[in-house]
Each structure stands twice: as structure tokens, then as C-alpha cells.
């Protein structure tokens, strides 16, 4: 008896001491939550959950691969305890949800008639399934069978539909799908995802510089789910109210419906659903990942900086924005006039971004004057994003353009207007340039009291890069276009005030690199127009003079014609912790491109901070939305069949010639009515790679 007791005690003591020492000597770090979760499980190591023991199951739960109720033995009580442990972490705020990425269904054509077992994986064994589309849903519902929570069903269109209320994000459907169509992702995984050639993308979605899931949000609008439409937009674009008003919508140029009818008015639908959410006044919850402990400084509070701030915050980083002007918004606050984008609306967008919490803002401080890279690093920032925009103007190469009184660069003209101290214009105003900035100057001059406004442009109206609607609006507001001209000389009075401009007429010569005919001035064709003010709107450059100063950290940045050189994928510059995006990183472009670049920069910074591989996957989709090149092969059609011409809805606007239109800054373009929005949404053919609704 005594021997037995002694033996057991000795054995227990030896085993205990040995294991205790081993656990210290052979210590390996793991997430402390795994141990906490493991304590809530049955501890039987039975393997009933499908994992190799309770530790493996706990690790899977913490990593989000398994559901909180994975342990069958611990049951509902155990699941509640696990949820409580995970709930202590803010990580639970990031819900895992399943999404079906193929909307082909019955619309997808078939290579052959399959008559085997009604199961996707069985069908997949035979030439990867019968569907023509390599990445299309086979529709037998293996995912539905795999779902333990009844959250999936094969919808009326022949592809699976997820019930977001019931989905717990367990990932069973993703594992069951042989084609990778079901994807269970956290919101931050989706933020980090860039369009791939292997994704199921409609032509509009491939073209959008911000990669918004257009067919999805239009489908939500179709079903009256305006809030879900808005949330879909917010996954890619945190400023939908602003883009909804000013975006030149390159997506619509790629709209497949345009082959047989007018393109769908995508941007008006975006504007409609975001206005609806704004007018409802409810705050929809946007999930934010748990804090990572990293701090990122954003220099410049323009659209790219704000977009990056939004996505960095959602990825769990703390952000501080430094802005030199009194208000956030950059070029879209100070550059876009009130009648196109009311400041109040813009600030609704900005406040929603700041409303995430964890984003600090400091205005009235200028990079290179009040602070620099050294002070940011010293201030504890782990990465810096430069989104300083392009606030300098390009020269028109007219002699004395910076001396003559009455000549003003467009950036200064618009900024003064944005600051509430508009530049006093005379009766006659000339603007040189054919872009959207020139249009803004022209239309603002009308509102500032000019009676005669001229637009001078070296080519023809059809060559102007400005949005067609803007040019049209200029016509409505009585602006005169003087095309094919090269201004050569300012005419001044004795005191140096501008009284007129002399120009040479142009003729079109050989096509240049951009494919447009190069204008050539005709000697001896001098003409003079009398004007009081002249606005230079022929392009902008970045003021990156701070990079030329020797001996500072920032001098290691490379610049090219003012723009800060970066890796166009990762947005990283020559200094590893400095990133740049938006206008200052390349030729100034569209708002939507700046917003998209902001998200890509956020991805680059996130990967850099977390020590992950920053490069894009090799199958990254690269579409040139200006030249309409680089789409997924086979997705751009020459013609489509069966579409009835319905015509798109009109853009409602303030009546041309009305007092409000000519003399106030009241918003000119109006939001469409709900009825029109639904009508337009129903014109969407819900395209996928190759499928589309032939009866739409």
C-alpha cells in the first residue's frame, strides 16, 4: 500500500517537474487568446471538431478558421464562453461573412450536358464542370449542403445566396466549393484585396479606378436596400457623396449596355443611395479591426489622404492627418466650386470618415515649415503617407504671366473662392485650358459677375479632357469657346493692368503621342480679345521643393517634375517608411482615382507595418480607364443581343438661365428621384465576366 502511494507520488512529482521545466526550456510564443479559448473547450482531445485536439481547435477559433461553437462536447455553454473571451478583444467587431462572388447561375452557358451526381465537387471532376466560364458557379449547391447554419440556399437565379443574418463565417462553404466562389472574409481582408485577373468582374467594375463593386450595389438598389448599396460602395470609396457629384464615371464608358442602348447611369445611382443614407440620418456601423498599435501620419487632408486614413483606421492603425489649409478636403474643398459640390455635402463625407474614431486631425501646419520627417519619426509615427496634392500651377509660357495684374493661376483663384474671399473679376474673363479645372473657373467667373467669359483652348472642343456634362453646362451658361488658339501676349494699360489678350490661330497637324492631332500656330493670324482677367488652368504640379534641401531625411525622396516618385503598386517611396499617393504621386487625375490610390497606399502601409509581402500578386488586374485597355480577355464584347432600348434617365438640374443658376452657388445637378433610380437600376444587366441579363 505504502509502496503504491509512494510510487504514484514520485511519478506525479517527476512528471510534473519534468513538464514544468520543459515548458520553460522549450517555450514557443503563441497568441494568449488561444490558451483562454482552450480553457473553455471540453478538454477531452476527442477530435470530434475535426481538428487535432483542443489546442488546435482553439487556435483555429482564434484565427477565425472555426466557429465559436466548433466544440460539440462543450456545447452552447462553451460557445458562449468562447464568444465572451473573443469579445474581450475588439477583433470580434470585425465580422466574418460569406460572399458568393459569381452571379452567373442559369445565365451561364454550358460546354456539355452533365448528367452525373448532383454535387459540385463530383461535377468538377469532369473537365472542371460543364459551365463555359472557368470560374463560374456550377450551381449544385455543395456549399449549401456544407452549411450547418442554414444560411445558404441556391437562389432563384441558380447561384447561392447568403443569408447574412444566419451566416457565422465558419468557412464550411468556402472549403466545399471546388471553384473558390464562396469566399469567407473579414472586412479588412476585403480592403486589402485588389482586383485580380481571376476575379469575377463586370466590365464597369474592372474599369472603376476605385474598384467599386458596381453590379452589387446597383442590385441592392434594385431591391430597395439602399443602405446595403451604400455599404457596398463604402468598401471601396469612403467619399460616395462627393464622387456621386463630380465623378466623370469612366465605368459608364465600359458599360456593356452601351453596345445596344445608353450606358447605365451608374454614378447617379451611387449619388442616389448615398444621399438616401445621408438624409436618413442613421449612422450605419462600419467595422474596424482591432488596434495594431501602429501610428501613421498623413501629410495632406485631400481625398487620397482621407481615403487612406479611412482604410488604415479600418485595418486597425491609428492615424493623424496634417493639413496646411484650415479645412480638410484638399482640391475638392478648395478646387471644386460650391455649385458642383456643396461644402456641407463634402463635410458629411469627411465627418463620416473622421467618425470612425482614432483619426486625429491637425490643420494649419505645413510640411517642411512647421514639421518634417524627422519630427514625425520622433513623434512616434511608424509610417508617413504624403498626399500633398498638386497645388502649384503649370506655366502657359506667355511672357510676363506672373507680373501682369489681372492674371491669376486657377489654383489660387479657386482656393480664394474656397476660403470665402473670392478674387474680384472684371466684366470680361478669359480662361485658358480645357480640363475640369478650367470649366470650374469659367463657371465660377459667371457666378462672380463676369458678363462675358471666354474659354481659350489650343485644340477643338471634342478634344477637351473635361467631362462632357461640364462642357455642356458651360454652353448653357453662355460661355464662349475660342478653340484652336495659342495666346502669345498680354495687352496692358499704362499701369500694368490687363486689358486684352492676343492669340494666334492654330491648325491641326500630325497626331502626337496621345493620338490627338498636334496644334500648330499659323503665323500672322494675330487676333485680340479684350479681357479684364485671365485665368491659367492648363495643369498643376506638386510643390516638392522641400526634397531639394540637403541634409534632411526628406531629401532622400526622389522627385520627377515635381511629383514624388513611388512604386505604383505599393506606393512606397525611396524612403521605406514614406508612402505617397494621389496627385502628388503622378500626373494629377480624377477624384475617384485619388480615392482608389488612397486604399492602395493603405494596403502598402499595412503590409509594410505588419512585415508582410508588399508586392501585388502576379495576376493583378491592371486596367487603364482612360484608354480603356487591359480588361480581362473576353469580357469586352463587340455586340450584345436581346436588349431593348430604353434610354437612360436624364440628369435633373437647375433650369438653365434661371437666377439661381447664373448668380448663386446653388447646386446645379440634382439627385434623381427614387422612382428614377429604381428605373435606372433595373436597366442594369447585372453583368459578370461574360454573363448578363439578356432580358433587362
Amino acid at each position: 500500500m505504502i509502496e503504491a502511494l509512494l510510487l504514484m507520488m514520485g511519478l506525479g512529482a517527476v512528471a510534473g517537474i519534468l513538464l514544468g521545466i520543459a515548458s520553460k526550456v522549450f517555450y514557443v510564443w503563441e497568441d494568449p487568446r488561444i490558451a483562454l479559448v482552450a480553457n473553455c473547450l471540453a478538454g477531452a482531445n476527442c477530435g470530434g471538431c475535426g481538428y487535432t485536439g483542443c489546442g488546435a481547435c482553439a487556435a483555429a477559433i482564434v484565427e477565425g478558421r472555426a466557429d465559436v461553437g466548433a466544440c460539440l462536447v462543450a456545447g452552447a455553454a462553451g460557445a458562449a464562453k468562447v464568444a465572451a473571451v473573443l469579445g474581450l478583444e475588439a477583433g470580434a467587431a470585425e465580422p466574418l461573412t460569406s460572399q458568393n462572388t459569381c452571379t452567373g447561375g442559369f445565365r451561364a452557358s454550358e460546354k456539355f450536358s452533365y448528367m452525373g451526381v448532383n454535387d459540385c465537387r463530383a461535377a468538377y471532376l469532369l473537365y472542371a464542370g460543364a459551365k463555359d466560364c472557368d470560374v463560374g458557379c456550377l450551381g449544385f449547391g455543395s456549399c449549401v449542403k456544407a452549411c450547418l447554419f442554414d444560411a445558404l440556399e441556391i437562389g432563384p437565379d441558380g447561384y447561392p445566396v447568403v443569408d447574412a443574418e444566419k451566416c457565422v463565417g465558419c468557412g464550411a462553404c468556402e472549403k466545399a466549393c471546388p471553384k473558390g466562389i464562396m469566399q469567407v472574409r473579414k472586412p479588412s481582408d476585403r480592403i486589402l484585396h485588389m482586383n485580380l485577373v481571376t476575379d469575377r468582374l463586370a466590365p464597369c467594375r474592372q474599369t472603376c479606378p476605385a474598384e467599386i463593386n458596381i453590379p452589387r450595389y446597383i442590385n441592392h438598389i434594385k431591391r430597395g436596400e439602399y443602405d446595403k448599396a451604400w455599404l457596398t460602395v463604402m468598401e471601396r470609396n469612403p467619399m460616395p457623396l462627393s464622387t456621386g457629384r463630380v465623378c466623370p464615371h469612366p465605368c459608364e464608358d465600359a458599360c456593356r449596355r452601351a453596345l445596344a442602348d445608353d450606358p447605365v447611369s451608374i454614378n447617379q445611382l451611387k449619388r442616389f443611395c448615398s444621399d438616401w443614407v445621408m438624409n436618413q440620418g442613421t449612422s450605419l456601423k462600419i467595422p474596424v479591426a482591432p488596434d495594431t498599435g501602429y501610428k501613421v501620419a498623413i501629410v495632406g487632408g485631400g481625398p487620397s489622404g482621407l481615403s487612406a486614413a479611412f482604410y488604415l483606421r479600418r485595418l486597425g492603425h491609428k492615424v493623424k492627418i496634417f493639413e496646411w489649409l484650415p479645412k480638410l478636403g484638399g482640391m475638392i474643398y478648395y478646387g471644386i466650386p460650391e455649385y458642383r459640390l456643396p461644402k456641407e455635402i463634402l463635410y458629411t463625407d469627411i465627418n463620416r470618415i473622421l467618425g470612425l474614431g482614432g483619426i486625429e486631425v491637425k490643420t494649419g501646419v505645413k510640411f517642411g515649415v512647421d514639421f518634417d520627417l524627422e519630427s514625425l519619426v520622433g513623434g512616434g509615427f511608424d509610417a508617413v503617407l504624403m498626399t500633398i496634392g498638386a497645388m502649384n500651377h503649370a506655366s502657359a509660357r506667355i511672357p510676363d504671366e506672373d507680373k501682369v495684374k489681372g492674371v491669376i493661376p486657377a489654383t489660387v483663384f479657386l482656393r480664394k473662392q474656397g476660403l470665402g474671399d473670392p478674387y474680384p473679376v472684371g466684366k470680361k474673363v478669359g480662361v485658358i485650358g480645357g480640363g475640369n479645372v478650367a470649366m470650374d473657373c469659367l463657371r465660377s467667373s459667371v457666378r462672380l459677375g463676369a458678363e462675358k467669359v471666354y474659354c481659350l483652348y489650343r485644340r477643338e472642343v471634342k478634344d477637351m479632357p473635361a467631362n462632357k456634362v461640364e462642357i455642356e453646362a458651360c454652353h448653357h451658361e453662355g460661355i464662349e469657346f475660342v478653340t484652336l488658339c495659342t495666346p502669345t501676349r498680354f495687352i496692358t494699360d499704362d499701369e500694368g493692368n490687363l486689358t486684352g489678350i492676343e492669340y494666334l490661330k492654330n491648325e491641326l497637324g500630325e497626331p502626337d503621342a496621345s493620338g490627338r492631332q498636334k496644334p500648330v500656330a499659323i503665323e500672322g493670324s494675330e487676333t485680340v480679345i479684350p479681357i479684364d482677367n485671365f485665368i491659367l488652368a492648363i495643369g498643376q504640379t506638386t510643390n516638392s521643393a522641400f526634397a531639394d534641401e540637403e541634409g534632411t531625411a526628406v531629401s532622400r525622396l526622389e522627385t520627377s517634375r515635381g511629383a514624388i516618385v513611388n512604386d505604383t503598386d505599393t506606393h512606397q517611396t525611396a524612403i521605406p517608411y514614406v508612402f505617397t499617393s494621389g496627385d502628388c504621386a503622378g500626373p494629377p487625375g480624377l477624384l475617384v482615382a485619388a480615392v482608389g490610390a488612397g486604399r492602395r497606399a493603405a494596403r502598402g502601409i499595412h503590409k509594410y507595418l505588419m512585415g508582410e509581402d508588399m508586392a501585388f500578386p502576379p495576376d493583378r488586374l491592371r486596367v487603364d480607364s482612360r484608354r480603356m485597355k487591359g480588361h480581362i480577355p473576353g469580357t469586352i464584347f463587340d455586340s450584345i443581343e436581346g436588349i431593348k432600348r430604353k434610354g437612360r434617365i436624364e440628369q435633373p438640374e437647375l433650369e438653365a438661365g434661371s437666377y439661381e443658376r447664373q448668380h448663386t452657388y446653388a447646386e446645379v445637378d440634382l439627385t434623381v428621384t427614387e422612382e428614377d433610380a429604381l428605373k435606372e437600376a433595373n436597366r442594369c444587366m447585372r453583368c459578370c465576366l461574360t454573363c448578363y441579363n439578356q432580358d433587362a
Binding site: 509502496e3 519534468l18 514557443v28 475535426g50 451526381v117
Partner: protein, 191 residues
């Protein structure tokens, strides 16, 4: 030599630990959903049983038998096997991460596994000498692995088959296991 071959064949086929002795059913059902898991588990069981067989046999010979404490054999073996497996797991995680990723993750499942325990007790009950014990400690887990891998192969196919709702998953797995057990009964009388 012939005895050892007979012992091995008997342990693998005739007295298959899973299908004839019905020991170790938890991992049999738990890790047989995929072939990868099944092979990993089979290797891990071979590895652990070889160790556990040796250690428990020595324990019996050095402590229990001389002291006349055979009556607490079961409880002693549980402590010994559990401590041993835990130690191996901790050691492997740190020192052999590659091996740990392949085998180690299955170790917790084996800690208190009845198949391991069963074989150790059989070794003693049959009064095997050291060499016989070694053969048995390798042959029984080999039989375990054989049954588990065969079963995983069947289950991978069953998952994509048309199984009536009430019979899905574990239910059909148990039915399958029953049929496999019946067919293994056919080896009776071989020796």
C-alpha cells in the same frame, strides 16, 4: 522469426486494434475526414506507440513487477503515457518545428488515447519479451494506420455522394465502420 511475422500479421489484420478490438474510435472518426489528417494521425500513432510501448514495458519490469504493484498498472500507465506524450510535444514544437507541423499537432489527440493504452496493456498481458513487445508496438499502430487510411479514403468519397439527410456525416461513417469491421472479421482463422 516465424513467430514475429505471425505476431505482426496478427496485430495488423486479425486483431486489428480499430476494427476488431474497437479501441481508439475517437480519432478513427475525428481524423478520418481527410486523407492528409488520416496519414498524419497514423504516423503519429506509430511514433508514440513505439515510445510508449518501450517506456511502459520498462516501467513494468523495473518498478511494478518487483514491487508487486501490478494492481495499479492502469493508473501508472496513464500518467506515464500522458507525461511522455506531452513532453514529446513540447520538445518537438521548439526543436523540430517541421516534424511538429506534420506529426506533432496530432499528439494531443493521442495523449489519453485508448488504442495506445490498450496496446501497452496487451504487451504486458501477453507477457511479451522486449523484442516481441517492439514488434507488437509497431504492428498494432500499423494496423491502426491501415484501417484509418482505408476509412478516410472511403469517407472522402462518401462526402461527395448522395447520402440521405438523417444519415449524413458521423452516422454514415459509423455504418461504414461497421461494414469494414465485418470484412476484417474475415481474417479470423488466418492464424
Amino acid at each position: 522469426m516465424e513467430d514475429y511475422i505471425l505476431l505482426a500479421v496478427g496485430a495488423i489484420l486479425v486483431n486489428n486494434i480499430l476494427l476488431i478490438q474497437y479501441l481508439g474510435n475517437c480519432p478513427f472518426l475525428g481524423t478520418s475526414k481527410s486523407m492528409d489528417n488520416a496519414t498524419g494521425m497514423a504516423m503519429a500513432v506509430v511514433f508514440v506507440l513505439a515510445l510508449a510501448g518501450i517506456v511502459t514495458w520498462i516501467f513494468e519490469a523495473v518498478f511494478l513487477k518487483p514491487l508487486g504493484l501490478e494492481y495499479i498498472r492502469t493508473i501508472v500507465f496513464i500518467v506515464v503515457i500522458a507525461a511522455l506524450v506531452q513532453f514529446v510535444e513540447i520538445f518537438m514544437k521548439k526543436s523540430m518545428p517541421a516534424l511538429y507541423a506534420g506529426l506533432g499537432i496530432f499528439l494531443p489527440l493521442i495523449t489519453t488515447n485508448c488504442a495506445v493504452m490498450g496496446v501497452c496493456l496487451i504487451n504486458i498481458k501477453e507477457e511479451y519479451n522486449f523484442l516481441e513487445m517492439l514488434v507488437s508496438s509497431l504492428a498494432y499502430p500499423a494496423g491502426f494506420g491501415l484501417a484509418l487510411i482505408l476509412f478516410a479514403g472511403l469517407r472522402e468519397r462518401i462526402i461527395i455522394g448522395r447520402v440521405p439527410g438523417p444519415l449524413q456525416d458521423v452516422a454514415i461513417a459509423l455504418v461504414t465502420a461497421g461494414f469494414m469491421s465485418l470484412s476484417f472479421l474475415g481474417f479470423k482463422g488466418m492464424i
